[in-house]
Amino acid sequence: MIFQGCTDLTRETRRKWAGLLFVLPGMLAYLVWTIYPIFNGFYMSLFKWNLNPRIPNEFIGLSNYVKLFQDPQFYVALSNTIKYAVITVPFQLVLGLLVAVLLNRGKKGQTLFRLLYYLPVITSWVVVSVLFQYLFATRGGMINFLLKDVLHLIKTDIKWLAQTSTAMIPIYTLGIWKGIGWTMLIFLAGLQSIPKQLYEAARIDGAGGWKLFAKITMPLLRPTFVFQLVMLTIGGFNVFLSVLIMTGGGPRNSTQVLNTYMFKEAFEYFHFGYGAAIAVVFFIMVFTISQLQRRFLKSDPY
């Protein structure tokens, strides 16, 4: 009997240990590559950090933050980053949903179209950024050619990337174009998980196409929608490579975003402490926003 009890206990503990072991690799990776850098970033932001580990770092308290909040370039980058998220996220959601609904209805060629719409997602940011640079070139660019020579909407070429008023437009466009495939795929999965019986029952009660969409599809897609909103917002705040490659933050710093600004301060100017301060502010902001989004949108109507 005593033995019996002992093995039971061991089995229980063993299972716990086994579970822990299964989680361990992921947990360790998370601790080492996510949690540690966040704390280390905060620690670095309190110093005049020297790249060379043999030179002692000078503790300067919150000076980096004080400087940051007085830095006009930081506000430009901040506002551009927020604008990027505010503009690209809704477009990705709406267009992705539209494509998903269309694909969900059509039976023929669904796989092919799904693949085609998903293709931009898996192509490299570097490649498509260079491509968009060509598309939006002032002279000989495809967009100006379409607008001027084909559609006759404009008389002279638009200097898309070379003037401050329009330079963000190609960057937004790229972000939206590249993101639609992902939102489409997730929405498609969401759509296909909605039980068919609901639509059938509603049809019997006399509901039409729009009503079905508004009363069944939309509410049942809500969890998918919230998930996407949070993920896309985080993704939007992380905009980096497209800006770095297409404009490098110019002209006149008009397209600088937080990530490019942080990169420049840390890796170009060797202001690692200051760069870390930008990263910390950035982290707190994104974390807060995604928590708020989840809190306010989580409540399930059903």
């Binding site: 020297n50 790249l51 060379n52 580990p53 043999r54 030179i55 640079q133 060509y134 939006f136 070139a137 002032t138 002279r139 000989g140 660019g141 008389k155 002279t156 070429d157 200097k159 898309w160 990337l161 070379a162 003037q163 401050t164 404009t247 490098g248 110019g250 002209p251 006149r252 710093n253 420049k264 890796f267 170009e268 100017y269 060797f270």
Partner: protein, 418 residues
């Protein structure tokens, strides 16, 4: 049995001894692996060095130019760097400031004093920070003006401009709206940006400056009269439509391509333009002159690489031997054959330069070329200058006002490193 054991020990000692006697140094460089320079380096230069120094083995590591900076930063933080590095001249003061580079004028004082005077002063100045030298020049380059003969002849011109007045006159003649849609499709001049790499030829040829000769003062230099006139001139040329949009980052046809395709009549280019243009347009005719002279003469910008030894190296003396070898007369001369421009005074008038198809104009330009101020804050100064020029040309800010503001910002950067 005992004999065998003793023998084994002896063999082991010998083997270890031999391993210890041969020092291996690693050489990080950015020569692209399909280039003539790389072939020469690996097939001839390094083997010959190893033959002359049987106790030193050189392991070369190729890094893409675009990855080199990241690699140096990560390597510095981790304390793992190559012993010897071929580094872009503008990075040297920045890495010297964080004490990652060996001050060769102190550590190898006697040798350094012997070789110092053999180098061209422009390239040598890029190794200096706070009175010490953190490496030796390895190769150099500058930019000159390429002119397109076909387009020139169409408007009755037969030679590239010699003076700034000629340049302005020609740029106007060479800008055309060929299809009559109200927009230019051929330009007098094109360049790829407004940063100091592109604008130093303008600023200095107009008699202007960025910093003073000690690299400690911007006031009265960034906003000197010549600097103002240089910026004003480029602005006027751009507004008149004589300069293609590429200069403000409008995208589209690159300067080399546009030059070869008879779209841009004049461009600013380094010696790498030849292999790049010829690679795509084997029959392209390339004509070059020194940058048009203004009140400050014909000035251009110094580019190139220095060869440095890292503080983390455990083989500093062996590394120095390799550095001396790489900057020696014979090695520098051998590299000319594969189109690397030398840094030694003794090679300027050498037959090998005179016979080279296009080095002559560059060597001529180099005699007056200006180095971008060797200063650890250069990246910031660079961006501030770029911004000031963009403010004026892209956004219509006043010339004096923009340069005065640049002075204020640059003075702050200079103060950071005092």
């Amino acid at each position: 049995m005992r004999m065998r054991k003793a023998l084994l020990v002896l063999v082991a000692i010998l083997a270890v001894g031999m391993l210890l006697a041969v020092e291996e140094i690693t050489f990080w460089h950015t020569y692209s692996t399909n280039s003539g320079e790389y072939n020469l380096l690996t097939a001839k230069i390094i083997p010959e060095f190893e033959k002359a120094h049987p106790d030193i083995k050189v392991k070369e590591t190729q890094v893409n130019y675009n990855d080199m900076r990241q690699r140096l930063i990560v390597g510095t933080a981790a304390g793992v760097l190559g012993d010897v590095i071929r580094m872009d001249i503008i990075w040297v003061p920045q890495f010297a400031e964080i004490e990652m580079l060996v001050p060769v004028d102190i550590v190898f004082a006697e040798d350094f004093a012997k070789v110092k005077d053999g180098f061209l002063p422009g390239p040598l100045s890029t190794c200096e920070w706070k009175g010490h030298y953190y490496g030796l020049p390895l190769d150099t380059n500058t930019q000159v003006l390429l002119w397109n003969r076909k387009l020139f002849e169409e408007v009755g011109l037969s030679e590239g401009p010699k003076t700034m007045d000629e340049f302005i006159k020609y740029a106007k003649l060479l800008t055309k709206d060929k299809n009559g849609d109200g927009q230019n499709d051929q330009w007098g001049y094109a360049d790829g940006g407004l940063g100091p790499w592109n604008t130093i030829p303008w600023i200095y040829s107009f008699g202007g400056h960025i910093l003073d000769s000690t690299n400690q003062k911007a006031e009265g230099f960034v906003n000197s009269e010549g600097s103002i006139r240089a910026l004003q001139t480029v602005k006027d040329l751009f507004e008149s439509g004589f300069v293609a949009d590429t200069i403000i980052g409008g995208g589209g046809i690159g300067t080399f391509e546009g030059y070869a395709e008879n779209i841009y009549s004049m461009i600013l280019a380094g010696p790498w333009a030849w292999p790049i243009i010829r690679g795509q347009y084997p029959d392209a005719e390339i004509n070059a002159v020194v940058f048009p002279a203004g009140d400050g003469g014909s000035r251009s910008v110094v580019g190139g690489e220095n060869i440095v030894i890292t503080e983390t190296s455990e083989h500093k003396a062996a590394s120095w031997e390799f550095v001396k070898y790489m900057t020696s007369h014979e090695v520098q001369k051998a590299f000319v054959e594969v189109s690397q421009m030398p840094v030694l005074k003794s090679l300027v008038e050498d037959q090998v330069i005179i016979e080279h198809p296009y080095f002559h104009v560059f060597m001529q330009q180099l005699t007056t070329a200006v180095a971008r101020s060797p200063h650890p804050g250069w990246n910031q100064i660079n961006d501030i200058m770029d911004q000031a020029w963009q403010d004026v040309i892209v956004a219509d800010y006043g010339v004096k006002e923009s340069l005065d503001y640049a002075v204020e910002l640059i003075e702050r950067v200079l103060a950071e490193y005092r």
